[in-house]
Amino acid sequence: MVNSTKSYRNTFIILLGALLLIFIVNISLGSVYIPLKQLFLAFIDGEVEKESWKSIALNYRLPKAITAIIVGSGLSISGLLMQTLFRNPLAGPYVLGISSGASLGVAILILGASFFGATTAGFAFSSWGHAIAASLGAFLVLSAVMLAAIKVRNTMSILIIGLMFGSLTASVISVLAYFSSANQLQQYLFWSFGSLGNLSWNEILVLLIIFLIGMTCVIFIIKPLNSLLLGENYAKSMGVNVKRTRNLTLISTSLLTGVITAFSGPIAFIGLAVPHLTKLLFSTSNHKILVPAVAISGAIIMLICDSIAQLPTSEYTLPINAITSLFGAPIIIWLLVRKRKITY
């Protein structure tokens, strides 16, 4: 901590290098083979051999890679904040039902559109509509879990409560689904599979703006989060406004999780697993190091998952949720098995 930025500089440089590398690998993968040189030419607006290559590079691969970076960073940061706030190493946006809350928001918007009549229909399909509904849903569930967490301190109980909120929202969604049209249902189902590749540049802009707002909130709670590592009472005794910190954390995590879930669907395990991997790598709990480190690692791991989703046949893309679960679930099991060492 004395020379924190110095001693971690090398690790950061390696991480950034890895990010660049996997970014290049990611955009070079896809159903159509495009030589790296041609890709590069497409990005700098040069002469590309085939016009379709340019279109694929600029309108599909680049937006997808950028989405992966934002989604990975945002979900991982959300997970980090929740783990510190709940004093719970197993907290994360997906596990605590926050992603389900965001899903509920989107489900009410898409599936409930018929209830609200035609006036909301236009709003329901707009990207801002999704973002707002999902953030509200995430905030609602997160506040409910937070209230429960104030009463129940036990790690497992909070996880089970999060699970219950997940089931609750799932059942509300199935009731909504039962009453909606086939068209609406299909739209919702496609959304819920999770995907990084369906975003237009406009939607990415919305995603980026809200991501940056959320991250700005995060920067202001780095210091109080560090004192919360000693528990609320110590934090208060060091002059920390715990209530304000908790509110800012709730707002930034619901914004990040909400808007990401709105655009890419509920994505499992990234928010839980990435902070742990980063803490292993950096062996610190100092949020001044962890926040940038988790953001970069999240982007790297999301890009890796997306690249794996592209690999097998190159003709089809595997659902991104399948890959993140394949990678995340074993990590949770491993964490529980070596429980003595769980730290956050």
């Binding site: 004093r87 210091k223 560090n226 000693l230 528990g231 002059g239 920390v240 610190t284």
Partner: protein, 265 residues
Amino acid sequence: MSLKDQHIIKTSNLSIGYTSKKNVNTIAANLNIELDKGKLVCLLGKNGIGKSTLLRTLTKVQPALSGEIFINNTNLKTLNSVDLAKSLSLVLTEHLPESNLSVYELVALGRQPYTNWVGNLSDTDLKFIDTAFEQTNTKHLINAKYYELSDGQLQKVLIARALAQNTDIIILDEPTAHLDIHHTIETLALLKKLAKDFHKTIIVSTHEVNLALQLADILWLMTPSNFMADSTENLIENNCLEQLFDSDLIRFNKTLKQFTLSNSD
């Protein structure tokens, strides 16, 4: 005899306890404490008598039922949380949440009231952290993770964190609860040294009555009906310690200045 401005802590007609929707549960009333700087105070009383409630009220964790508390002549109600954190630090009994904190990072957190918005440590901060390690003789531990420490080491490190906070007053809630006799004496002796050599005002709640009788400058005794605050000698002189435990099993031996078993002599 002492002037008003010499009291580091002063209370007037302080009542402590809990309020719920239905009723007010008063634990102690009309406390008029006047405490001078640089004293080691041991707060003694049976389990459940309200020691923690008193400490929580003095540290603004919970509100007083009535009356006023003055820290360094400033009313506690008007002190904001950062200013309070600069005059009063805590060592608590509760378990620390799991984390990767190193001993150095943990102690450095004591500088939070003084650091900038992102928590960068200045040269002054580094100096205070260094001094805290020296005063508690824990410099060899700085690279360890806090969860690797023994209970005795952890207690010293937590005291170092409070020292890094550079406050006139340090309040400790049962710091010796998990310690063996060796580490208990070591911890209390350290607190005595901090009070004597560095003019810290230290308030400790403890069940180590016999050690408190030997080490404390001031005793605060809490009984169901009474609160007594005075120097150890005066309290012994006035037969106050006999009231501490209304038990047949234990009694205060005035010549030994110790509590002993009732049938031991």
